[in-house]
Each structure stands twice: as C-alpha cells, then as structure tokens.
Symmetry: C2
Subunit: 307 residues, 2 copies
C-alpha cells in the first residue's frame, strides 16, 4: 500500500504544496543528499575536507535525451569546477555519459565530455561512471579516446560483469584511473555473476589485479568504491602484503553511508573519499535504486536509523 | 519538490496508514490497474470480453533474484491459467523472463517458462516480454528453445533496436508469434535509434516485414502493441493494400490507455487486445517508466485527465 501512497503523493497538489515544509521530509532527504543546490554539495565538501576527507561531486541526471539539455550539463560542470577551484577544495567530478547525451549519439556525448575534462585541466580528475551492460562497450571506447588525450580522466568498472578482468587488462597499458564498484543494474546471468559471493570474489580478484599492475604501470590509479567492510579489510591486508603504501590507492563511499568507516580509514592513513550527489533529479535515481534492488532500501534505511 | 514528497510518503507511517483510504488514491490507481488482486484483473478481462475485446494478463514483477520467488511466479501463473480456463475467458499471458529468474541463470528460468507454457497447453498463448538490450540475446535463445517444442509461445521485439529486422528474419522460419513494440528502456545510441521518428519508421518497416512474411510462413502471428494512432492507421492501410483479412493480425494496448481506440478497432473488425496488469509490484514498474522517459508521465497523465 506504500506504493499507492507514493503514487498519490506525486499527483496530489495538496500534498505537493504542503509536504516539503514538513520537518521529516527535510530530515530524511538531508541524510544522504546534502541538498539540491551546488552550494549544499560544496558546503558538505568543505566540512569533509576539514576532516581530511576528499570528495567527488556529481550532479544527478542520466539518460538525458535532449541535446541542449546534455550540453547544459557539460556547461554546469564547468561552473562546478570554477567553484571548486575558487574554494580550493580537494574535489573531483563524477559524470555519467548518458547525462552527456550518450543515448543521442557518441559524437556529441564525447564533445560534452571533452569540454568538461579540458575545463578541469590538471586541477581535478573527471570520473566516468559506468551504467548498465549495454553501455560498457561504448563507454570504454570513449574513455579510451579521452585517456589518450587527457591524463585527468578515470572510468568505473563493475565486478559483477564477467568481462571486467579482461576490460581492465585491455585498459592497463593506457595508465588508466579505475574506480572499482560491484555494480547496481539488473543484468542477465549470461552477462553478470548472479551470486553475491561471486561478485565479491571477483571484486577482490580485480582489486588484486589493479594493485598488482599499479607498481608496473605508470599512471595507473586504483579507487575502491565499496561500503563492504570485509572487502575493504581484504584489500588493506593484500596491499600491505605486497608492500604498497597506504596512500597509493583510495577508497570511495557515498555521502551519508558508513560515515564511521569513512572517518576510520582516514585516521588509519588511507585516502578516503566521499561521493556527494546534488540536484533535483535525485528522486528517480533513488527510486530506481530501490526498485532494482530492494536490498538497497534496507541498507539505506538501516543507515538512516543506525546513523 | 514533488520528489521529496514521494520519498517522504514512503517513509512516513502516518501517511502509509491513512493515504490508501483516501478516495483520490484509489481513483488514480484504478484507472490503469484494475487492482492488485488476480480477481480484479479477471473481472476486468470479463468486462472487456463482453465488448468483444480479448485480453493478455500479466502479474507485475521483474528482476527477481530469489530462486524460490521466481519459481513461485511460475506456480502463480498456473493458478491464473486455471482461473482463465474456468471462466472461459479469451485471455492470454504475458511474462518477463527476469520475473522467472533470468538474472539467476538461463536453465532455471527456462524450467519456469516451460512449466507455464505446458500449463497453458493449447488453450492460451504465453507471450515473452522483451527487456533491456542486454537481455535480447538470451531471451531470443530461450524463445527459440521454447518455440521448437511448443506452438503456444510468442515473443516481443522492439523497433528502437537496430538489430530487430535481422532478429525477425532469423526467427521467421520457426513460425513465431511476434508482438512488436517500440521499446521503453534507456539504450545507448550504438544499440537503439535515438530519434523517435526513426523508431516509428522502423516500427512500420518491421510491421511490413511481419505482414509480408505472414502469408508465406505457416504459424507466424503478428501482434502490434502500440497506442500510436498514426502507426495503427499505416498498418491497417498496408494490410488492406496487400489484401490481408482484418482478422489475420492483432493490435494490443495497455489497460486504461486509449480506450476509445481499443473499442473502435474492435468495431471495425480488427482483433483488439488489452494488456491487463495486476499485482502489488506495480509502483516500482510505474516509477521506472516515469524515471526512464518523463514523456510517459505526461502520456499517462493526459490519458488520466482526457479519459
């Protein structure tokens, strides 16, 4: 019945006008999104920065199918970069290629991407997020094109895909920046590991591959984007075993999720980064996460309640 | 701000308890989903049947990643088929393979599918819906396997994919039942036509291909699932031009959308079918539709308001 409520809420002018003023609405939202405005995101980045935690900022939006709107996103990131520079924040960017018009065509999308990367110059890295499996080929192709020209661009790989170890091997000669995640889109069993245990095992296998290559390949940078403490411990131990410095790789987590762990990693001397999202498009994003993997809802709720 | 309301609604026990009793909640939902229960769906099917409109029933659910739950869906469709038979309704089934556990593996999914098809026997056709492009290969593979053994199984093809004309050509020798749709998942431009005009043009091209083969290939059955009146007119005219009987193919539309058109097609002597959805999982489905293509929201709203 919760579902009926949500739907009704969307269509009721009465609720639409009144509910945003209710304290619980603001309270709930502010736990994992600092706010809808860039100011909110940068204020959160500044606070984290004072605790020694660097950040990655993303403007929510995906599958934009209007060319002008996609271009607008690229311009908007230019503004974000200017603000980051002015404030002297240790903040990078994360973008989705479908936010830059990938559904409209690769050429235009690449133009938007290149504009952002050039705008970032040497001051900030631009992380390209990975989307569902249909986007992997074209995303890696555009990443390859960008990385050949620019040093400050990274890409995300997903450990639930069978292909990921091979993709990493193929990218390695480029000296890529890789953010490793588990993956959150629904995928068929012929494309992605169905069992969570296999996704985790592959995460660690690819993480070892990444850390192992890092000493041999100039320019390679490894970012482990996971909240899974067991995996984080495995990676820390493995890095120590092969004699890597704590500062040679990094961990990334979402704003508001596992704050204790974010702080602890920083105190231990690891590079701990927090991904901050902002923008008005957060609700579809959130709902899709919930609809795709109900477990996410429990995870978020647990964090909301558990703190 | 509507988004904040929706999110808050989901988490407020106060709203969760009270809102479902509000008249506007029931009114809004009942326009395009007869109800959450099978009884509601079958009652709607019976009413439509009295107006000469046949139906296709689907239990909402997708990307089920629990094997027991996926098997439960297959058993549930067994119950649906029994009820359809008892009531003597001209009702077929539509299922999604990810509802039957495709994300867990093809073998188990096929077992669930075969169980439903066998249960349907000769009395009802089981339509396999098509999902995002990552699922197309495996879905067509399982369809092929099923169609080789059973006559009463159809599959959906999407005109926004570049590959569709080729897929249809490859399936034709099997004597397939094909439901043609435009496609509703976000897809990259290297996989799907980005422009609506091209999707429409390809819809008509594949429709012609389907109708053209129908006279030559035994067992081939064409169902055009679209609300687009321009396309429907084009297809009617083309079928007439090549001398096809009005009853040789069919149109399918969603419950509650373009009712006038559904009735008119029936009165004109065409086979007009309505897809009825039921189940408690309708909200994520609805939200995903909205999140993916905001245009859908306007479409639904326009229909809700315009009747």
């Amino acid at each position: 019945m919760m579902r009926s409520v949500l739907l009704a809420g969307a269509q009721s002018p009465w609720l639409r006008e009144r509910a945003p003023r209710l304290p619980f609405v603001r309270r709930t939202a502010s736990r994992f999104i600092p706010g809808e405005a860039l100011d909110d995101a940068l204020a959160a980045a500044a606070i984290l920065s004072r605790s020694g935690i660097a950040t990655v900022v993303t403007h929510l939006g995906e599958n934009i199918t209007d060319a002008a709107e996609a271009r607008q996103e690229a311009l908007l990131y230019g503004e974000v970069l200017g603000r980051i520079r002015d404030a002297g924040l240790p903040t990078e960017l994360s973008i989705k290629l479908t936010q830059l018009g990938l559904d409209l065509g690769a050429t235009r999308c690449y133009e938007n991407l290149a504009r952002i990367i050039e705008n970032a110059g040497t001051s900030s890295t631009v992380w390209i997020d990975m989307e569902s499996s249909a986007y992997v080929d074209i995303t890696l192709e555009l990443y390859r094109r960008a990385r050949t020209r620019y040093p400050n661009v990274g890409v995300c790989l997903q450990s639930y895909l069978y292909r990921t170890a091979k993709d990493l091997a193929a990218l390695t000669p480029l000296g890529p920046s890789i953010r490793l995640v588990k993956g959150a889109y629904p995928e068929p069993a012929n494309v992605a590991f169905p069992r969570k245990a296999d996704v985790d095992a592959n995460y660690f296998a690819v993480a070892r591959q990444l850390l192992g290559r890092q000493s041999q390949q100039a320019g390679l940078r490894a970012a482990f984007a996971t909240h899974d403490s067991a995996l984080i411990d495995q990676i820390k131990l493995h890095a120590q075993t092969i004699g890597m410095a704590k500062s040679a790789f990094e961990f990334q987590m979402l704003y508001g999720i596992r704050k204790d762990q974010q702080m602890r990693l920083g105190h231990e001397g690891y590079c701990s980064k927090v991904l901050i999202t902002y923008g008005s498009a957060w609700f579809p994003w959130f709902m899709r996460r919930m609809a795709e993997r109900p477990a996410n809802m429990f995870f978020v709720l647990r964090n909301l309640v558990g703190g």
